[in-house]
Amino acid sequence: MAPVLEVSGLVKHFPVEGSHAVVQAVNGVSFTIAAGETVALVGESGSGKTTIGRCVLGLVPPTAGSIRFRGRDMGRRWNVRSPALRGKMQLVFQEPGESLDPRMPIGRSIAEPLRLGSLDRAARERRVQEVVQRVNLPLDILDQYPTELSAGQQQRVAIARAIVTDPELLVLDEPTSALDPTARAEIIELLMRIQRELGTAYLFISHDLSTVHQVSHRIIVLYLGRVLEEGASRAVFRTPRHPYSVGLLSAVLLPSPGLRRETTFVLEGEIPSPINMPPGCPLATRCPFRIDRCSTAFPDAERIGPQHVVHCFRHEEVAAREHATDTFEEFQRIAQRILAARGDRPESELAGIPALPPHRQADRVEDDTER
């Protein structure tokens, strides 16, 4: 089956105003997303992940390369709002409050993408109610305004609006970064359930590796607009082969004291400016494995597993030095051990648990995983 999305040789350069310099945001990125699959673009600010998302959405025209969606070349004339796409590609951004019109009631916001379609008014309303229930929001929210909702609820609305046209691909740009931890967990579970139920493919753009670990099937590690490593999520998290992936994973602080990916080296310094970059590997300035070749040529892709590809001249040495370990999984085991016990008292003593007074009963947000 043809992939839902096929990005090949994507390049995006932005001119710097008032000079001949260019920001080399994306420098030749190729990847595909299959139906129902989640592919995560990970990397730090300046890695080009957001620009790639915008190119895929057609919001900025690529400098070179092609983007094929459902087998058709997007060309330069289409974007995510084009009627020709019939809403088969949708997006969710980081700040739910900013992507919703504050003067538009929620119901109308959600129905907006349907205006392109052929549904009549009644069918549209039915469809809106359907997706609102799917994202576990109460129906009376339709008449409310964005400011009356919490950030988590706003993001649910944004997701409802995105899935209202029954898309095949959702581009999710840092969809949980602005949320509190508990709201973030809810949204992630919601997104995973929607994918299970509807088979939507996700392009998941995030710098939060814990979240990526949970949601993605495959991950692509980006640095200064280049793919350094990509592969099945499990493989990359367990056996990262690029020095940058190792550095990134070992910098993550998990909620268990001292639980950190052990590594034999650290990445010094910060991501350099993407303006007028020299040739070669973009990590060369920070990499402890740097050799002369690194500053003259960017390493070709080397296949090191069924789906695992790395761009590094010295990946075998990295492999020899690093243990295969997935600290995220390790943390999940620890969390499981800790949280499994709730220390509840025997059933007989719980008989008298009272209901809350009616005024304190909140609109219950149902659990997403149960539906």
Binding site: T182, Q214, L253, L254, L350, G352
Partner: protein, 356 residues
């Protein structure tokens, strides 16, 4: 930062209190924090007065103590009162907030009894703050060097020349590459990580005894965050500074802090040494929060009650977490729980804490 500078930095107030010890709070020292407190917040209440509405209680009965050199992590979600507490300790509660009750002692001195002039002598010298959005904290029209130097000039009475020398030392201490050139840079020429280091340099230039970091590293990329945290810990340990580290990320708390306080709806609901907390939180809310990081839907569901009620909580008798709590009992609706000691150094505000 040299010893000599530390000496210059220490205020008279501070020195006097070190000599005398800290009699005012000696009797109240809980098991969680033996020894003289650098910061001792007692029963602090802050409310926000919005015209035409009931005042919102942002902080309820908050007591926090920090020993010298201790890093305390204050963890909670937005709206829990974290920033309000930080501002209250600095005595700059944002309008329309008001400190209703409670005291804040710094090295045994009641900050509430000090005049604004005395307070601004303490701020930036003995009490420092590092804030998020580092680029916004820097004045966009001024060069980095003078911005850092001014703080030393104002508090330590040094000359501009000496101030710039100290600023240069600080830039080296926070590992900024090419520090001489950065002194002449403007804020917009810096990356986020760089700007955050500048703000750290500003906070630490006078060698403060107490530093608050309000969500200061959350906007940074992970590899940069790791570097900045390592640096912060090194500087804080070298100077034996105490630090209140405010964050939403319990991952950072687990790896950076000595002790963890969980705040919920303006109340400290749990206070525990880091190791103890992360081997099993006691308060049901702490467990729920912890479960949100587990990335395990089933575990999260185990700890999830119903959603929080949107209205403010007038009913004093209730436990504030009762409406969301999976362990709710009759008593939780009848009696507001006190923060009580479960084991040495471990406190929780719960009638039925989780025992493991």
């Amino acid at each position: 930062m040299t010893e000599a500078m530390r000496g210059e930095a220490q205020s008279l107030v501070t020195r006097a209190n070190i000599r005398q010890g800290n009699p005012a709070s000696a009797g109240r020292a809980s098991a969680a924090s033996e020894g003289p407190a650098v910061i001792d917040v007692r029963d602090l209440e802050v409310a926000y007065y919005v015209y035409g509405a009931e005042p919102t209680r942002a902080l309820r009965n908050v007591s926090v103590r920090l020993r010298p050199g201790e890093i305390l992590g204050l963890v909670g979600e937005s709206g829990a009162g974290k920033t309000t507490l930080a501002r209250a300790i600095m005595r700059v509660v944002p309008r329309p907030g008001r400190i209703e009750r409670g005291e804040i002692f710094f090295m045994g001195t009641d900050l509430g009894a000090m005049s604004e002039a005395e307070l601004s002598k303490l701020r930036g010298r003995d009490l420092a703050m590092i804030v998020a959005n580092p680029r916004g904290e820097l004045n966009p029209l001024l060069r980095i060097g003078p911005q850092i130097a001014t703080i030393a000039e104002v508090h330590l009475g040094v000359s501009r020349k000496r101030g710039l020398e100290m600023a240069l030392d600080m830039l080296r201490a926070v590992a900024i590459p090419d520090p001489e050139r950065r002194l002449r840079a403007y804020p917009h020429e810096l990356s986020g990580g760089m700007a955050q280091r500048i703000v750290i340099a500003m906070a630490l230039i006078c060698g403060p005894r107490f530093v608050i970091s309000d969500d200061a590293t959350s906007g940074l990329d992970v590899t940069v965050q790791a570097q900045v945290l390592d640096l912060l810990r090194k500087l804080v340990r070298e100077q034996n500074t105490s630090m209140l580290y405010i964050t939403r990320d319990i991952g950072v708390a687990a790896n950076f802090c000595d002790r963890v306080d969980i705040i919920y709806k303006g109340e400290i609901v749990e206070d525990a040494p880091t190791e103890a907390f992360f081997s099993g939180p006691a308060h049901p809310y702490s467990n729920f929060l912890f479960a949100a990081f587990s990335h395990n839907a089933e575990l999260r569901r185990r700890w999830m009650g119903s959603a929080p009620s949107p209205e403010s909580d007038a009913a004093e008798a209730l436990c504030l977490y009762a409406d969301r709590c999976v362990k709710r009992q009759v008593r939780c609706l009848a009696e507001h729980p006190a923060l009580r000691e479960l084991a040495a150094g471990r406190l929780a505000r719960c009638h039925f804490p989780v025992e493991r």
